[in-house]
């Protein structure tokens, strides 16, 4: 289990992490979601003892990372796949890591095999593609068979097959009872790979919960196509509904459920051709949640991607 306890990190003039306070539980995949520059990586670096907290602290299984005896046996991390000496082979890189944590070297071949880079294990890491480097990073994280795993933007650079592989891999790790903490700036990615999501923006906690919770609380809309759109819009407005959109396709109504819209239409004698409740997409929820919390966003954010 990872515990973030009123964590604050200030770099000379910017507040990268602002009083974050949450727990990451074992047995589920926890997504750590926020726009680029929102403090995800900083938080992960502090968990791993790479950066010092300005205030508060982060602990893994109740202990600060720097005080763990053989840390790779408790925590596996992949922060930056390219953070490897380019002139060393993958096998030697892993052997050095294993030795430092008193992990037997036979484990090196096991993890190389597992991530599927055995064939290139004796090549210099500098020749690797980003996807291969990601796999090497995952191999390093798994060396000590740790109960707690951290991945910073793991799907970056992976091909579709690799992305599917890594999602199943997270699921397996969580099912084995491990703590799996995965950061991403892509809501869509988190929606398919995470059970629980923690959302931050500008270093501040925004919300957390299961994927379902997050979308449930978001305001849904109702799409209606009926015989008399103008009349229906009038009635809906009178009943405190909000008409977002009127066109030939129909009305988009917020503030009323589909049942209520159906009943109102029936009472007014309007024939309904189509009545569709529309849940807010995860991307929309994410954009709503982090609106105003985007440090390096384009001025007009009409696309939810990146």
């Amino acid at each position: 289990m990872i515990k973030i306890d009123h964590l604050t990190k200030r770099y000379s003039d910017t507040l990268a992490v602002d009083d974050l306070d949450f727990e990451v539980k074992p047995g589920v995949v926890t997504g750590f979601l926020g726009p680029n520059g929102s403090g995800k990586s900083t938080t992960m670096r502090i968990i791993l003892g790479l950066d010092h907290a300005t205030k508060g602290q982060a602990t893994v299984n109740g202990t600060r990372y720097a005080e763990l005896k053989d840390p790779m046996r408790e925590v596996g991390a992949l922060l930056d796949a390219k953070a490897v000496h380019p002139g060393r082979t993958a096998r030697n890189h892993l052997r050095a890591l294993a030795t430092s944590n008193q992990i037997k070297t036979s484990r090196v071949d096991e993890v190389l095999e597992f991530v599927g880079i055995s064939a290139v294990a004796n090549k210099n890491v500098g020749t690797y593609s980003l996807g291969m480097s990601q796999r090497l990073g995952i191999a390093g994280a798994l060396l000590g068979d740790p109960g707690c795993l951290l991945f910073d933007e793991p799907v970056n650079g992976l091909d579709p097959e690799g992305i599917r592989w890594i999602r199943e891999f997270f699921r397996t790790l969580a099912n084995e009872g491990r703590t799996v903490f995965v950061s991403s700036h892509l809501m869509s990615e988190m929606a398919v790979s995470a059970d629980e999501i923690i959302v931050i923006g500008r270093g501040r906690f925004i919300t957390s919960g299961s994927v379902n919770d997050l979308t449930k609380n978001a305001e849904g809309t109702v799409l209606v196509r009926a015989s008399d759109h103008d009349k229906l819009a009038e009635i809906v407005t009178a009943h405190h509904g909000v008409v977002h959109n009127t066109n030939d396709e129909g009305l988009t109504i917020a503030g009323l459920s589909s049942d209520e819209v159906g009943q109102l239409s029936f009472d007014a004698g309007i024939t309904v051709f189509e009545l569709t409740p529309q849940r807010a997409s995860l991307e929309e929820v994410f954009m709503d949640l982090t609106a105003g919390a985007i440090e390096y966003g384009a001025q007009k954010m009409d696309s939810a991607h990146d």
Binding site: D51, H52, K82, A83, R88
Partner: protein, 265 residues
């Protein structure tokens, strides 16, 4: 007990890292080549020109330090090895991976220093003894030679090797402070080459006081059986160099413990 075993683990890990990159191997090869190769060149030149040397040169000639002169060039190779041992971790970003494996920063630096000092001491002693013995062999019959059975001679050869190992540590400390290969190597070279040139602009009496504190002058003292003029004796020179290394290393370690390692600068 656990602390000892984990320092051992960290040291063994650093040893694997040290010998699995090409820059270390190249650095070792260059050190061998410069110390022994230049030693052969210098001693051969002395032998062939011996009859043309002035009586003063002949009277003050030192067969020991002249055969070890190559090590004063090899000090740059050793410096590059020491610097890269830590700056390559910063330029590649692998310092983050390293620190997740060994988060105890003091232990990490201790492990690196043990590997660096041990390898450079063995290397330094090997090349200096080889250069000395080959040099005396070349001098034999023409130029007066020295023997290791003489205590002062043995000391000179041993300290010449130690000098290289200490300079490697000094360069490592500079690398840990500056975290950039080019910057650290520039400063290292400046200290050894540029500072003495600046010293030349000082008045003569200052110059004598100033220059003997200069690392490569200390190196010459360490590898001479008799103290050269305006220089420290061999043991005093060794202690002063040790103080430089310890002081620089202390600053480096304090900075390393305090700094964030996550973001590159």
């Amino acid at each position: 007990m656990t602390n000892e075993s984990t320092l051992l683990a960290a040291t063994r890990s650093e040893w694997i890292k040290f010998r699995t990159v090409r820059s270390s191997i190249m650095g070792v090869a260059v050190t061998v080549l410069l110390t022994i190769g230049l030693g052969v060149l210098i001693t051969t030149l002395v032998r062939t020109h011996w009859s043309q040397l002035s009586p003063l040169r002949i009277a003050t000639f030192d067969p020991v330090s002249s055969s070890l002169r190559g090590s004063l060039f090899a000090q740059f190779a050793v410096g590059v090895i020491g610097t890269l041992l830590i700056t390559s971790e910063y330029t590649s970003g692998s310092i983050r991976t390293t620190l997740t494996a060994v988060p105890n920063r003091f232990r990490l630096i201790a492990g690196k220093c043990i590997v660096l000092f041990a390898t450079m001491l063995i290397l330094g002693e090997f090349v200096c003894f080889a250069a000395f013995l080959i040099g005396q062999r070349i001098y034999l019959g023409v130029v007066p030679t020295a023997s290791l059975t003489n205590g002062a001679v043995l000391r000179s050869v041993v300290l010449a090797g130690l000098y290289l190992a200490l300079l490697a540590l000094f360069a490592f400390a500079l690398g840990l402070i500056l975290r950039q290969s080019a910057a650290a190597i520039s400063v290292f070279v400046s200290v050894l080459l540029i500072v003495p040139i600046i010293g030349l602009f000082f008045p003569q009496n200052w110059q004598n006081d100033f220059m003997r504190f200069e690392p490569s002058t200390l190196g010459v003292s360490m590898q001479s059986p008799f103290a050269p003029s305006n220089s420290f004796g061999a043991w005093s020179a060794t202690l002063i160099l040790l103080a430089y290394v310890a002081g620089t290393m202390a600053i480096a370690v304090v900075l390393f413990l305090r700094r964030d390692a996550g973001s590159n600068q």
